[in-house]
């Protein structure tokens, strides 16, 4: 049986699944239920200064649905906790006392001045909480007041606030990053410079979920108007994975602990984030869609997969994918693939043909000898994978590496690795082939 325990910044947790700072962690009642269900930790919903903020009294969530109303993303315009600071602090202290084996981290957001941070940090420390997370991510409402993503979009502010927090508290400090920025490496570097112990990402993506075509207003609509919200859920996961990878392989931040967030719905999603180097993951939308019980699937799925693969601990596979994320220029141009269609599996829907014909390379037939049949024309196939992506049958179309000779280019395929850096078409080509920088190695978890 795999060991799922984690020690993220020295904060022990029975498993890597934490609930992200969000509505599910706003109250003792919810957190109590989460821990009963098996969640390893929580990041308590963001605390601010008194008097507490108020929320809109109309709808605060919007949704993006897939088939059968499967929720692909949520969009929210909820603010930080709208309960009194004392109430939250009391409950945090009680929960931590009642659940000593679970992680309780407190999310914070106060104005960008030293005094309010110093004040609230002291209060949090008294609760016995395990750490703090600085909310530099929320892209709606609070950002209009100079907090949330308004801070996260200015690396200098991140560094400054992180430094105050490290100065005024002995608790581990996690900086939660906003994805609403052009290059995620800059805020991550700033967090590190400021002395933060870790980053967590991503917070929500600024979004308008839909426009109501009867009222001509964004949804959810409040008295005829709507404002952008923060989008989360499965639809944002690929963006989150990329941002995590960017930080994991950036020379300036390599080795910095990362708490992965963004659309994690199943054990597999969590495993992918951990494979990129995350020390744990945080979940919100999956719980807000199905309830806290989803963690049971995450725990059993991850554990069974680790058993199957022979990974005893989380650290055994953590970061294994990070060295394989590289720059385009280092991809092997001598790796030549052709699509292969398994005729026994083909159900003849013809989608591979029509997308290739209309939008790509005219490399798949629709008729062979007068009969409906879809075959790859190697002379035209560039190996792009579009047919694989649109085929409704799993493993019906696969990409096969070929060697020796490419019938499309009518040229031999070199056996050795070759990339763009020395390619003759590259105006900046170097005489000698450039290789990707040595993959970075993550420090041991014990360190």
């Amino acid at each position: 049986m795999a060991d799922l325990t984690t020690s993220f910044l020295g904060i022990a947790s029975p498993n890597p699944f934490w609930l992200a700072s969000a509505p599910p962690t706003d109250k003792e009642y919810n957190v109590q239920r989460a821990f009963e269900a098996g969640w390893g930790g929580v990041v308590w919903k963001t605390l601010g200064e008194d008097p507490p903020v108020v929320n809109v009294n109309g709808p605060r969530y919007g949704a993006l649905w897939g088939p059968d109303r499967r929720l692909l993303a949520l969009n929210n315009i909820e603010l930080i906790t709208d309960r009194a600071l004392d109430t939250n602090l009391e409950e945090i202290a009680r929960v931590k006392r009642n659940w000593p084996d679970r992680a309780v981290v407190v999310s914070l957001m106060v104005p960008c001045e030293e005094a309010p941070w110093q004040k609230i940090l002291a209060l949090v420390e008294q609760t016995g909480a395990d750490g703090v997370e600085l909310n530099f991510g929320c892209p709606h409402g609070m950002s209009e007041r100079g907090m949330g993503s308004a801070v996260g979009q200015v690396p200098e502010y991140i560094e400054m606030v992180a430094r105050w927090c490290k100065q005024h508290s002995r608790l581990p400090v996690i900086v939660k990053l906003t994805p609403n920025i052009t290059d995620i490496r800059y805020p991550a570097r700033a967090a590190k410079k400021g002395g933060a112990d870790a980053v967590s990402l991503i917070n929500t993506v600024s979004a308008i979920m839909s426009i109501d075509l009867d009222n001509f207003a964004p949804t959810p609509t409040i008295d005829g108007k709507g404002s952008h919200g923060g989008m989360c859920g499965p639809a944002v996961r690929p963006m989150a994975l990329n941002m995590v990878a960017e930080i994991a392989r950036d020379a300036e931040t390599v080795g910095m602990p990362i708490s992965g967030i963004g659309g994690i719905t199943t054990w597999r999603d969590a495993a992918e984030f951990i494979a990129l180097g995350c020390g744990n993951v945080q979940v919100c939308t999956a719980a807000m869609t199905y309830g806290f019980k989803v963690v049971k699937e995450m725990i059993s799925g991850l554990s069974d997969w680790m058993d199957e693969k022979g990974y005893r601990t989380i650290d055994d596979f953590r970061g294994l994918a990070a060295p394989n994320v590289t720059d385009w220029q280092y991809l092997n141009l001598n790796y030549v693939t052709k699509a292969r269609i398994d005729q026994d599996k083909c159900i003849s829907c013809g989608r591979c043909h029509i997308v290739c014909e209309d939008t790509s390379h005219q490399a798949i037939t629709s008729m062979v000898d007068g009969a409906r049949r879809f075959e790859v024309i190697d002379e035209e196939c560039v190996g792009c994978n579009l047919c694989v992506n649109v085929c409704p049958v799993e493993d019906c179309i696969t990409m096969e590496r070929i060697a020796g000779y490419d019938p499309r280019t009518k040229k031999p395929i070199p056996d050795e690795y070759g990339n763009w850096t020395a390619h003759p078409n590259n105006p900046m080509a170097t005489e000698k082939l450039q290789h990707a920088p040595e993959p970075v190695t993550l420090p041991d978890a014990a360190e």
Partner: protein
């Protein structure tokens, strides 16, 4: 305890309580709810050169209409359907989709579970019809007049297309109501709530179509007159004759023609007043046999048997139709050919059948007989084209295999006369095929008249 009285045929009405009767005649496939339709529509792969579309006799762009449903535009979906098949609503209910579009659906091939194309088509057309709007507009009047004989699917389809193209159409039909087999032939549980009439009313909203009842070729109208008085004539005559059983005792009371019985049933407002035998035997292997048997059962017949002279695989009724009959308690028996009807006091008491076998591909009798007691026997062994209306005119319209011969454009051997539906030699006897015939003929009539106009103008 013995019965002292002579055996009486047990044929009576009101065998079932009202609720049970209503259940038996309720919609075979209740309509999809909006959400169900969205989920089902999402199963469609939007195939390239879609097999379903190629399998549809009216070539409805099925992937497109399903995508329109999926994108929340069922009205647009209905227009896509109706532009190819103006009786798309009825076809959605009665088409043997399991042998047409759904049979070749790639998801049928892949997983034995095709996209429910028929149900989606019904969802779209029902949604449009519920608005009360007619989606098509007539072209400018051409001043041309066309006679359509027969208000069944072929005639209605031809009339609608011709009217849409700007021509004035008069439809003649022998019966009181338009619709043909949609009104008088289809099983009641496939077209509930007077759908056939609603659909005709919807279709007539195009305008330019007049309907004259009580008239058939040789009865109030004559082909020669129509050819003289109209610019073109379309014949959608259907099949007026029924095959004879060729068994002794066929004339006994209690022996019925299934087609006529179904027509009566369809026109019976209160089915609790329609008598049915306690034991019913239906002879035949097609859809009519299934429809008669299932409806006899639904009326409360206790034992209903379909006897077919060949094996199950040779039945014209699809495996799906057979399953419908079987699950509703109809007993299907094979390799039994009627020999004689035993009558008592002139009334059916039993039917004697002889076992058959296939030898070298031929049906042969074995001499062994089986007798099934029955209060009623229905024969559903095929219908025939009765050409009397046409030959009475002395015109000699050319026939082929006993039906009207037409070319690809549905032109008959007579100048200015087109034909379609079951009365022509080509094509399966299906509503959807008849609709296509009417549409093709209408387009050709239009082309012919337009060409004539052009010649006249030059």
């Amino acid at each position: 305890m013995s019965d002292p009285l002579p055996r009486r045929p047990d044929i009576r009405a009101g065998r079932l309580p009202a609720e049970e009767l209503a259940t038996g005649f309720a919609d075979l496939h209740p309509a999809l709810e909006r959400h169900e339709a969205l989920v089902e529509a999402d199963r469609c792969y939007f195939c390239y050169d879609a097999p379903c579309m190629n399998a549809c006799p009216t070539a409805i762009d099925i992937p497109l209409f399903i995508r329109e449903i999926q994108a929340g535009n069922p009205i647009g979906a209905a227009k896509t359907i109706l532009s190819q098949n103006i009786l798309g609503g009825m076809c959605a209910r009665v088409c043997p989709t399991e042998t047409l579009c759904e049979e070749v659906c790639v998801r049928e091939v892949a997983e034995g579970k095709p996209v429910q194309i028929g149900m989606l088509q019904r969802h779209a057309t029902d949604t449009l019809m519920a608005t009360g709007e007619h989606p098509f507009k007539r072209a400018a009047a051409t001043g041309r007049r066309i006679a359509v004989v027969g208000a069944g699917p072929a005639g209605l389809s031809a009339a609608h297309r011709l009217a849409m193209l700007g021509h004035d159409v008069t439809i003649y039909d022998a019966r009181e109501k338009p619709g043909g087999l949609n009104e008088y032939g289809i099983a009641a549980y496939k077209a509930t709530e007077d759908f056939a009439q609603k659909e005709v009313a919807f279709l007539l909203k195009i305008g330019g179509i007049t309907f004259e009842t009580g008239k058939a070729l040789g009865q109030g109208i004559h082909l020669a007159d129509l050819r003289r008085d109209f610019d073109a004539v379309f014949l959608g005559l259907g099949l007026a004759g029924v095959n004879a059983l060729g068994a002794d005792g066929e004339a006994s009371s209690g022996s019925h023609d299934a087609v006529a019985w179904i027509a009566d049933l369809r026109q019976t407002a209160d089915l609790s007043g329609l008598p049915v035998g306690r034991r019913v035997v239906v002879i035949g292997g097609g859809m009519t046999a299934i429809d008669a048997a299932v409806q006899a059962k639904a009326l409360g017949a206790e034992e209903v048997t379909i006897a077919y002279r060949r094996g199950r695989e040779a039945m014209n009724a699809s495996p799906y139709e057979q399953e419908v009959a079987a699950t509703r308690g109809v007993h299907l028996r094979f390799h039994l050919q009627p020999k004689r009807i035993h009558a008592e006091d002139g009334h059916v008491a039993a039917i004697e059948l002889e076992r058959t076998m296939i030898e070298n591909g031929k049906l042969v009798l074995t001499g062994e007989t089986v007798t099934i007691e029955a209060d009623q026997v229905f024969k559903a062994i095929g219908q025939t084209f009765l050409p009397h209306g046409t030959e009475a005119e002395g015109e000699g319209i050319a026939l082929e295999r006993g039906r009207i011969r037409v070319d690809a454009a549905r032109r008959t051997s007579l100048e200015g006369v087109w034909a379609g539906g079951d009365c022509i030699a080509e094509g399966e006897d299906l509503t959807v095929v008849a609709v296509e015939d009417g549409k093709v003929a209408a387009m050709d009539i239009h082309a012919a008249l337009t060409a004539a106009d052009r010649v006249a103008a030059e």
